[in-house]
Symmetry: C3
Subunit: 210 residues, 3 copies
């Protein structure tokens, strides 16, 4: 394999890992609501592809999952895995969280680069990075009728925002090395997620007084 094929394969493997992690998070939440298999599959699928779907509708381009059936297949495998290996998965909470962070970082980078590719300015690309990474989970929480968890708990979408800022700064600092911004962005997202989970970091809460 030449280096381009290696890189494409590497990105594909990462995207599968991210899709599985997102789908499993949706399917497990659906299980807490006693949804049936169809409901669990749909919630898992929407968690995995919902952010990218909203991005593609806003960018007015072909919705990415309509061009290949493997997102549907990976979600089906995730559902099968949850049904068969349930107890196993519960004990692997930390691995799932790590996969989820990797998925978040990659989805964020994909959202940023796709938007730049369509000629939008960096601030739009940053928003699309946040949407691609974090809004599948928002639609998931709407479907299971809960308040979106990323609006209340720890650093999640904010990690994408920080990643987008780093993407922008590195693209200004080293315009000749196009590989640096996506790597720096992904590293920042993952680092912030790890720190947030280890030290229970969270944003200030808006206090309500009437």
């Amino acid at each position: 394999m030449d280096s381009e094929t290696v890189q494409a394969t590497f990105l594909f493997v990462i995207e599968v890992i991210g899709t599985i992690a997102f789908a499993i998070s949706g399917i497990r939440l659906a299980a807490t609501k006693k949804f049936d298999w169809f409901g669990a599959y749909t919630v898992g699928l929407v968690t995995a592809i919902g952010g990218g779907t909203l991005r593609d509708l806003l960018l007015d381009c072909t919705v990415f999952w309509m061009e290949t059936w493997w997102y549907l297949a990976v979600t089906a495998l995730s559902l099968a895995a949850v049904i068969v290996f349930r107890t196993f998965l519960v004990r692997r909470e930390r691995i799932l969280l790590m996969f989820d962070s990797i998925g978040l970082a990659l989805f964020c980078v994909i959202g940023i680069e796709k938007t730049i590719h369509f000629g939008y300015p960096m601030w739009v690309a940053g928003i699309m990075g946040v949407i691609t990474g974090a809004f599948g989970g928002v639609i998931r929480d709407i479907l299971i009728n809960e308040e979106p968890i990323i609006f209340r708990k720890d650093i999640y979408a904010t990690a994408c925002i920080a990643g987008a800022v780093v993407y922008w700064l590195t693209s200004l600092l080293v315009p000749t090395l196009p590989i640096v911004p996506p790597l720096a962005c992904a590293a920042v997202v993952i680092l912030l997620r790890v720190l947030a989970l280890r030290y229970s970091l969270h944003l200030p809460v808006l206090i309500h007084r009437d």
Copy 2:
């Protein structure tokens, strides 16, 4: 009338029946939440046209209800019917369920054929059949702030999936008779709905253990 006009008229009548059934289901659920007339009308309209709207946004084509005002008019008539004949409708639960199944079958076929018409493969068409038939009800349940009922109860979206599979198989088996796949698809959807309601069939539930 020639045979083509007869067929078009027949499809139009079926679509009106389906729209009424979907709109009434939304309006009656809105009534349980004490929504006002505008809220009930909006929920009824979204139930009837929400699935097709999501389909058309994903297909990136003109949203179907923006080309003719009769979907709005039929929903207004449904609202009037619920206000005037409320007790009458409650006693006709079985007729409404039959109308709903006919609507589900037709909306599913419309979603499949429109997607194929735009050149997408069969698996995308199947998804659009499910979305057209069943996701108006999902958006309805989001608007009334309930967990989507099709994620938890009996065979509904699954009937559309089975219908789409039958559509695909019959289109392979009898490629020379384009009338067979839609009829077989609709028959399977209606049959599965009738069986699901009579024998309380449902999909397995995903059990949650932590």
Copy 3:
């Protein structure tokens, strides 16, 4: 400044006022749910731009807030204002409601005129006026997991509908004066909001009996 610049500046100021009022309404509701700063910002932003985003997706045109960053900036200022001047804002409930009504009226007019500009008939334009003015609040209520308030309480979306009807009638009556329909529409929306708030007007509720 010539008269056209004056008019554009006037409209811009009104739109900023409307955006601030909508964003603050979202941010304050997010505060009652103990959302963090990101959650509050997102809910505020969606309240301000959600209706117009849905409109632009349905019209299949470039989403308006992707062409200028000032909607994001105005929402950030609104969040800062809520954090810093919280008690002050609580005491200015009436001013916020007045701003909200002005925003509703302007957003409704923008939705109508943009739709007519794309060649759609008046009934589609009316729907887009309602969506632009009132559906940011619906998406807000979905995000904070509450039943949409405009489906149950006082005259809000209905004011937009009445405004759209007046827009249509005045455009038929005085086709030579294109300034009359938007002004008449906005006046009717604001008047109906003021009357609804002062006299607690509301639509009939759909009563549920089984």
